[in-house]
Subunit: 260 residues, 6 copies
């Protein structure tokens, strides 16, 4: 065993792991449309894969909790198959998970999130759980810290959903998510409020995803490939693991010796 | 494609499937200790496997929703690794799922549940959702309708959790859940309130699982095997699919022709 | 006084009783249609009568709380007069009751329930209250433990609601609930989903009671009589009191000496 | 039948009654200490008795719903036996009742309340239910409109809880609530914040009842008698029924002819 | 500084003040129509002004929290501009405020309320907060304790909303709230249920304000003036401060010496 | 009147304004420590001032709702005087406001927020309200769109709370918020987790503000002045009003003609 995945452990194995484990990583995904070329569990699968890779790098100090396989996806609801949780449902779920793992002795938590639409809810969850429990709570987007690799590899102007970047990550982490024969550019809508409301704009607000793209994806997924994905994922893992080492207050050597 | 698994479909594929699909099966599992010989995701995995097999039998009339991979497991909380949702959290989650799928046009739902501890919450969920939405709601234990096969195959007096029956099911459906070298009998506690509170007793009530069994399992898992599992699972699938055919108001032939 | 009924006691009497009392029995009924031959408070009255009789047998160790006179009856809502609580309302009510009695020093509780439609909600209530309070919680159907007497006396194929069994219980416990001149068989509907969804069937689910019976009752209430009721009730009381004696950890003699 | 009491009716009788019934009276009581000389169900019983008497006077235009037999009694919690609902629980219960009766066609409701501690919660309930349902909602204290009779008959300076007035009402309506041999004056505490916080004072606020009276009652219950109770109750019924006739928009004659 | 207004203090100043402060006054207003001659923030402004004046009289023992500038105003919703909070929202807000100030060491609280429609909700809030926190909670209408001055000065039969009394208070405390050129009598509706439901009547219940007055005010605001307002406000301040001195358990001299 | 401020209008004036008004601006602030040199209502006052200035620029098409004067400030709770709302409370409050204004005919809303700690909650609020009401919802930080002016004027490395930028804004908009004689640099803590968790870092998470700065402010407020504030505020107003003109779908000329 080179990663503590709760889903694959017996209680005796968990009990043994808890002698070393300090932090639980809770993978948080979504179940939502990802254009014509990715399946709807995309975010859930990528979050889980990233969590396990991160768990390997931080073995034996972290434990991977079960994956939260649905998230806040109201803006994708008009594409068939999308399932959206109310933010309060997601918060309740995370609170129950933290509370259960707290019972087993864990006091540090990372919500490792692959879906932009969950970020605000995670921030609120952190506030609400912190008010009630004496725990340390973090959250992170799976690969957004891979700034260099993204800068170098992603050529599309728009990216962030079933795009050049995400499809590349999937090529590296979970190619079964991709319908290669369907890879296509986002069918971006010229008109519409969405241009006013993108991240960084003066106004933020709710818009349905189909106002922005008729086929549900953005950027040019045809430019995606395994190598781009590898670079992005590995840089993100480097950054996240080095940040978590500080949070865990452990010596980097103690990890390398045991795991790599 | 011989089964509509939402997690493995793009939105265009979902859109096409909705021309035929009438009912969504929502697999409901748990994340909890399963003794020294089964991993903690056992119920989630078995519910999902059963749902897919049922989806194959009822193709193209049903769709398999993402799996609810945690459930109500308060009674297992004293075994390391168990995660328990509050019943209200599970109900909120199911309600959001039903509500999202309703938006896509589905009006019939089956919660296919592998964990006894969820049954009451599912019954309450059915009541609460029914009060608010015009849908048809069913729930079922994955294999408890396999009465003949269970009767014939299961020799242990006690069964129901990481037992002869459940391990057999796993041998057939998901052997990766089993630690074969660890298979053992339940370490049943002689004393204790649990004997008074088993299903069918005059009193029902809450007891911690360790009051009943020190190693977290019951019956004799060493008697489990693939063939027992096959018979139990297949009888359950026969029964469930024939019941669902009535509910779907379809002709059995229409399924056989398309799928088997 | 040979039974501690909270509704009939002053605070000074309650204070004195609490020197002996260990467990509170909370009678849980319903307010719902019971066919043309029983009044709608049937379940509330029977639960209360049973609770008092049980309280007499376990005097001075138990105390009878006020009766919960409405329950979860959504499936009966299409018959005039039925009142249904949301499951969350019933849980809130029980939690406030347990919490208040906890304040007075009681740590063991039995929800004595006469209405099948409440069972799941009671099970969920037990889970939710247990998670927040250090108490011992039990629930029981009023007479379902009278297996022998039911087997021997009840001739109707279907029973469970304003039926041969329930009317018999009322003849013995509260004949004022019965309109003798109206006693009739259930007007069972041949068609309909209900046959698929009865207890023990592969599928469970919600159906309106009028889908099963046009007059709101089942079985043949014309076969009901006082003696059948006496045998059923007394066997149930025997069973329940002997189970509670174990839970109370008292000597049976200590009761007999004080009360019978 | 000269009063439509839902608890005593079959569904067929309810169905027939609904041809005339316009308004439902929901009796709201409490379960709380009433000094050494009244039992704890006092408020619940008196509310129910008053409701029935009012129902007789307004027959066949009103229907008496099941009694809410517990209320908001936090201030009495330090006397053994008191059960207190959270205000949100009481509101949920009332909302479910109104909503169920709305389903049966009723659009006017009176919460007939015997317990001062419920008044604010009833007012809030009225606001909250009104925001969601198109109904007409009223609430009233059972006898506080009997201003003349109270003025004439009640000699105690303080009254309002297990006092000269309330015990008199019980002598008339339900003498079984009284421990005649225990009748006594309230054991009023000289010091304490309560004097500052009585109705009509500049400040309102929470105080425990034992801060005001050591034995849990106020005024001089020894001055209570049947005749005082009769005058108070009958004046209240006169007032309430004449107010309700206006609300019902019926002719007084139509009642007299049918009922008295 | 002769009054501790939290809104106007830095944290260092708050820290210093907390050496003396015992009680926090939370001004509670509303945002609702006040007829053609007062602006909609009327209640919020008057509550704040009263709180500050009271804070000056009780300096340095009390602290004025930020003003709750919206309240429960469902009955005014049909007049343009009114904003109404659900009672549960107002309670949540007050609970968060009390809880935050509790964290800073305060244990006594006064909700100083200028809007009749909030009274019941405040009473419920007091009950609900008291059940969870060990604090002392009071509430008061801003000027209703000025019984003599009101009796002497107010000539209108009806008063209580944008009336002779309230406009007078505004002349003294915040004349900018008044449209002097628009001062007018309430346009009282002869017919309608409201007469039955006024404070003190046998029935209480919900009615829309326009059922009572077509222009949204009552009484004769043309009779209002500064001097009437001064007398009412000053008597109320006298009464409230003398009541609070008892509650604070301080010597009156200690205030006079420091502040006046 | 050159700006529709709800707090300063009578219902008749609101009614007239609604002929033109399309969008409501809800100023959202906070009540929290702002270092030794700003008072705790800082965010509430600045949000309100910005809203009014924006309302003037968009007259007569927008209306300014009452200010939400407290927000989510858990991270500041260890500085005396801070009041923090639970995110769910803030969402409930905003929902009630939107719902009330919807009743008056408004369908577009901007939450104009001055406090970073509210942003996630506002995003969640937008999602939750959108799911229930057919409205258009936007939110914006008051001045963060003034990118050029901030870039040009702000010299401090860190800014964002009682800093060079915010104090400059206050010099221009509300100098009474500033204790000029107390202006000082943030007392930044070298050690601590906060450096890992700043906006843009790989990890996000909760930290108490005192972990970052001992005096509660950051950057160098001594560099703040009126002119910097003017440039920042005016650029933000330019940007926001031009964005809102698009959202309002009005001609810019129609505003200029009527207002400027």
């Amino acid at each position: 065993m080179n990663c503590f995945e709760l889903a694959k452990m017996t209680w005796e194995e968990v009990e043994a792991s808890l002698e070393k484990v300090r932090l639980a990583i809770i993978p948080v995904g979504a179940h939502e449309q990802h254009g014509p070329h990715m399946v709807e569990s995309c975010d859930a699968v990528l979050a889980e894969k990233m969590a396990v890779k991160l768990g390997e790098r931080l073995f034996p100090y972290v434990l991977i909790a079960p994956t939260v396989n649905m998230g806040v996806s109201l803006h994708h609801m008009n594409f068939p198959g999308t399932i959206s949780l109310k933010p309060t449902t997601l918060i309740a779920l995370l609170k129950d998970m933290v509370s259960s793992l707290y019972h087993h002795g864990i006091r540090q938590f990372l919500f490792l999130n692959s879906h932009g639409g969950n970020q605000s809810t995670l921030d609120v969850a952190v506030n609400m759980i912190k008010e009630e429990m004496d725990v340390e709570l973090f959250y992170a987007k799976t690969t957004s810290s891979a700034k260099k690799a993204i800068n170098k590899n992603v050529k599309s102007t728009l990216f962030g959903h079933s795009c050049e970047r995400e499809v590349s990550e999937a090529f590296y982490l979970a190619p079964e998510l991709i319908r290669i024969e369907k890879l296509q550019k986002g069918d971006i809508q010229e008109a519409g409020r969405w241009r006013q409301l993108r991240p960084g704009c003066a106004l933020q607000g709710f818009y349905h995803y189909e106002e922005m793209t008729a086929n549900g994806c953005i950027g040019d997924a045809q430019l995606a490939n395994y190598e781009k994905g590898r670079q992005i994922v590995e840089e993100a893992l480097d950054t996240l693991s080095s940040e978590l080492i500080k949070v865990l207050k452990i010596e980097e050597d103690s990890i390398i010796r045991s795991n790599r």
